[in-house]
């Protein structure tokens, strides 16, 4: 009898546990906290977890709590795919996936379409994935590399007094010798052709811890600007080597993966005055104060070093989590408030996001990121960027307003590239006019 009682109690607990997990929205976190890119990984995934914790502290989304599980990828594509496979069916199924790695994202491209799990690639990955007709499950949210490159050109043009003033100038594209570094070629070439500046492309082999020959070539070419399209150690070494060769840091404009504290601190004084692109405006926001008050004060903060709250990667992680959870919220509006959403329902949410200024204000994140409005056609949702400058201690916004390049030109390029991909992969693009 005693045994039966115990069994009944255990069964009751199990049922309660199941019903509890049934009320939780699961996010797999393909994080990297060790290895070469751990500094960025800890900041980004720390930001994600901090925001999800804050939401839970506020009662979740219409009562649905957020849950997550981390899997260490070490930024390794094989491990990343393994982590995805391990977690995609955990705890009722993955809501979505964000690998924060181009290599892993490419490894998952076909799998997410097959598993019907949306994948966000915030500020990286294939720029043509913005065409939702060909990539229904991929969301390069906020701004793709191509729109960022167009934003760079717009900013440099504005500095000179108009894009037409770039005529006769020299711009060096110093890039990580990989698909990532070559991604903006087409955009820069199009601008160089249209506005008549000389584009000099210089490759830096991975990992980029030695760049003397590239910077000597830059010294010889005497360019007006250097665009630094680097990653990891390459960024700090570029700044140090520029200083070693007497090239002013103020003339270097970095990609947003070259624009975090982790990129400039190792460079020391060589980074002072250096500018980079960003999709977050540096500074403090009421949302970050809430995180400090409700998450860190309760001992649930994810960052070991509290001074990193609001740093570039942390803020980027918070931004990502806002967009993920706003997609869940949007999906709940259509499929039932207070219910756990399936990955397909969340995909719909991602495709119908409308995080406007009013919503950002309500979230306490007004100005932190540009408004994002996605559609079936446009999975990017913004295309806006900002420029920030390192003053030796922190990042400061240089452009007060969001900068947008030639979006029409970029959209045309995205559609052409996506159509080519669809032909190669034998994908029939969706007809967005029939999507609800």
């Amino acid at each position: 009898m005693k045994f039966i009682n115990k069994a009944l109690v255990a069964a009751a607990f199990a049922t309660a546990a199941l019903s509890a997990s049934a009320q939780e929205q699961f996010f797999p976190a393909l994080s990297y906290r060790v290895g070469p890119y751990a500094a960025g990984g800890t900041g980004f995934f720390g930001g994600v977890i901090d925001y999800l914790s804050l939401l839970n502290a506020q009662g979740g989304i219409n009562g649905v709590k957020m849950t997550w599980e981390e899997c260490e990828t070490e930024y390794n594509a094989t491990r990343g795919v393994e982590c995805y496979e391990r977690l995609k069916k955990s705890r009722g199924g993955a809501t979505m996936v964000e690998p924060l790695s181009t290599g892993i994202a490419y490894g998952l491209l076909d799998r997410v379409a097959q598993d019907k799990i949306p994948m966000t690639t915030l500020g990286y990955g294939r720029s043509d994935a913005a065409d939702g007709r060909v990539f229904p499950f991929v969301f390069p949210l906020i701004t793709s590399y191509w729109n960022q490159a167009a934003g760079m050109m717009k900013y440099l043009g504005d500095k000179e007094g108009g894009l037409e003033k770039l005529k006769g100038k020299k711009i060096v594209h110093l890039y990580h010798d990989s698909a990532y570094g070559k991604e903006p070629f087409a955009v820069f070439e199009a601008y160089a052709k249209q506005y008549g500046f000389e584009l000099i492309k210089l490759a830096v082999p991975h990992p980029g811890n030695e760049q003397q020959s590239q910077w000597l070539q830059i010294r010889q070419a005497k360019p007006d600007y250097v665009i630094l399209w680097g990653w990891g150690v390459m960024n700090a070494v570029a700044l140090k080597t520029a200083q070693r060769n007497g090239y002013p840091s103020g003339k270097i404009l970095g990609v947003w993966w070259a624009g975090s504290e982790e990129d400039v601190i190792p460079a020391g004084s060589a980074a002072n005055g250096y500018t980079t692109m960003t999709f977050n405006t540096p500074g403090n926001y009421p949302l970050l104060d809430e995180i400090k008050k409700k998450v860190y004060a309760a001992g649930k903060g994810n960052l070991e070093d509290k001074s990193r709250i609001g740093s570039t990667y942390h803020m980027r992680g918070v931004t990502a989590a806002i967009l993920w959870t706003e997609a869940v919220r949007k999906a709940q509006e259509k499929y039932g408030k207070g219910k756990v959403m399936t990955s397909e329902q969340v995909r719909w949410g991602f495709e119908n996001l409308n995080v406007d200024e009013a919503r950002l204000k309500a979230l306490g994140a007004f100005g932190m990121m540009p408004p994002v409005k996605t559609t079936c056609l446009d999975h990017e949702g913004s295309g806006a960027v900002k420029v920030q400058r390192w003053d030796g201690k922190s990042w400061k916004a240089v452009t007060p307003n969001w900068v947008v390049g030639d979006k029409a030109m970029i959209r045309k390029m995205q559609e052409e590239s996506a159509a080519k991909y669809a032909t190669e992969k034998k994908i029939t693009p969706r007809d967005c006019s029939k999507e609800g």
């Binding site: 811890n209 010294r219 070693r244 190792p266």
Partner: protein, 297 residues
Amino acid sequence: MQFFLEVLIGGLLSGVMYALVALGYVLIYKASGVFNFAQGAMVFFAALTTAGLVDSGLSLWLALPLTMVAMVVLGLLTEKIVLRPLVAQHEITLFMATIGLTFFVEGLAQAIWGANVRSLDLGIEDVPLEWLLENANMAVSQFDLIASGIAAVLVTLLAIFFSKTKIGRALRAVADDHQAALSIGIPLQHLWGIVWAVAGFVALVAGLLWGARNGVQFALTFVALKALPVLILGGFTSVPGAIVGGLIIGASEKLAEVYIGPHVGGGIEGWFPYVLALLFLLVRPEGLFGERIIRRI
């Protein structure tokens, strides 16, 4: 001509930096016949420990001896826990053990000091020498010149240590044959302990200079990749060979990148040194200064 000279000098100075890392490999190999795969990780560990101690409020001059103690302890523990049980085992077994050690040391460094990147200021400005810039329009790094001086001193000391001291000669005997050295009463464990401690010191010097040059971050472990072609060229057992190999690799990769690179799409300095080393292997497998091994069959 001025630009060619600038590229050449820049390459030679970079080569000295590679040689600094290569020296650590040579030391261990020369003394124990072990190719220490973990040398890059030791460089990272040393730099991170120094930067971590400085960031926690210690002065650089206090952090340096403390890091040195940590490196000696790491070297002695490696000898005691990893290598001693493997005495007289095949070389590949010892090599595999050092691969395991690499991952352990990398993980240990990040576990102790965290994954954050750090800067390391040695008080040497990394700017072009003004006099050369003004008079010859050549940018030669002041930091790299000082680093070269440090490397020259280190090489001289190590060369004297190996050729003129009793311990140095005993270490060479150990490298030739562990069991034979043991049979004539050479205290193998004691000597290995010493050489791992010295390799720790070399890793500290390399870590400080590379850390100050590039920032202290995980990618310091990758500088080991630059040392491999240097070793092939200079020879695994020669201290001066590491320097000469470094100079050749540094200069040739820079010249190749500048003068050949643009014709083949650029970015060739990552693999060019390996091609050069490979070609060299075909002609002189023991390297420029390595010991020629003749086996009778």
